[in-house]
Amino acid sequence: MHKTRSWYLGKASNGVMWLILIAACVLVLIPLAFMFTASAMPARDILRLPYPWIPKGIHWPNYWNGIRGPEGDFIFLRNALNSLIVAGSVAFFTVLLSAVTGYGLAKFKFKGRNLVFMLIMATMMIPFEAIMIPLYMVAMRMGLQDTYAGLILPFLANAFGVFLMRQFLITFPDEILDAARIDGAGEIRIFSSIVLPASGPAVATLAILAFRAQWDSLLWPLLVVQSDEMKTIPLYITRYMAETHSDEGIMMAVAVLASLPMIILFLTLSKYFVSKEGLTSATKG
């Protein structure tokens, strides 16, 4: 640590900081560069010594076969659509449900409010793996296996979301609400036309978090989904990890395809990924 002193002093220190940052970025980005370059190479080149960083043109069969799927039925497109439907609906409904509940907990006094809040917060401590089997049985009993509902419903009640929205709305000025009430606006209208539009940053953060969690989810779809048509992208990828279809080139091409929507989302909405509100409030989860 004795080197630290010199970084903090004088002009030379900035140079060291730049070096550290550039080195860190290079190290962090190498695996990503590997994913992109390997996706453009035939499998036999990928595990060659040394790794040929620059592909000789793009080996399109990787992408073509990745999209075509092991059985040639283009199931990837359907699986990608499923992922979008599931992650999108979870994001949408989670935001709605969390906002409604968070608003209720933040702005209305009623008996048992603290108990309700504590109960909801307590669910944050339940590891998903702990309730996986009982949850599966619930889903089965409700006939949710192999349906979108089965993939979506269990994740709508999001304790962190409720917490986030409550914290965000607790500072919302009561005067505005009361003024609207005096003007004769109904509670639902107040919520939908005053509270919700004002919750922009929190809503965006929560929507992205919920979308990402579902886009990433492996264990639950592994249990609930039965048919190929209902699979999501992570399940599609695990097919390529199975013995019969392991081709490194296709694997990386599928990895790129699976990451594209998140990368696009990240590049366009980066302010919500790397925003002060989003991140500091995320710590509280």
Partner: protein, 303 residues
Amino acid sequence: MRRKRGFSMERKKAIWGWIFVIPSLIFFSAFSFYPIINAFIESFFNRNLLSLRPPRFVGWDNYTYLFRSRDFWLSVQNTAIFTVGTFVPLVAFSLLLAVCIMSISRLRRFFQLSLYAPAVLSSVVAALIWLLIFDPRGLANQGMNALLGTTGVNYKWLSDTNMLRLSRIIVYFWKYIGYFTVLFVSGIGAIPYSLTEAALIDGANRWQLFWRITFPLLKPTTLLVSVMTMIQCLKTFSTQYLFSTAGAPTRPINVITLSIYNTAIKDYRIGRATAMSILLFVVMFLFTWVQLRLSRTEEVTFM
């Protein structure tokens, strides 16, 4: 008259409060409360997933079994090693990188976004990439050999107890370093500039500035980040699962959640698996309680 009106207004608000809260409660009941209660009950029974025989009540047997079981303690040990091995370097390095970013004047956003990029990938994709990198012919060996000036040494990333644990930590570290760096950057950004300025006027150098002003004020953020990382680490599952299905030995990375999955799904022993889940739940409960306490103190410090 006025009192009565106020009372009915309050009543009305209370009713609306419930209306806003009830839809959520229904979902929480079906998908959180009920399953956890069910898991708690199951942990006192012996039930073979495959058997049609009714479950047998065994009292605390499943718990006492776990405390005697070598595998259970191994998975506790693995989880602890992973948790400590991940959060210490993660917190230290993200703090360092955050300080670096705050000390430079240009490209701050670029560095934050680049470091954050891996967090965008799903854990399945991350595991897929790293499995190829850790292959004996992969980039990890090539990089280490180039760095240490050796030739053709196989560092056994996936085929050695400690290396495998390290590899697992590297994947997590890689995925989340940017996330925590950005957290610290916003933490530092939130420190009122007047404090920094005052210190500089007092003639403090930047080193003193960091240790006397920045670091103490970042303490709540640091604690919070640590606890959050710990909770996340206790829950870790996908990468271990994917690594062990890809041929890496299971023992060194058999964390509690993987053990729960295997006990329930592979060994059919739902009672033991739920007992393990309940123990994990208790530990996480404690951590979260600590976290909530800390976040309360944080608000006091900053407000």
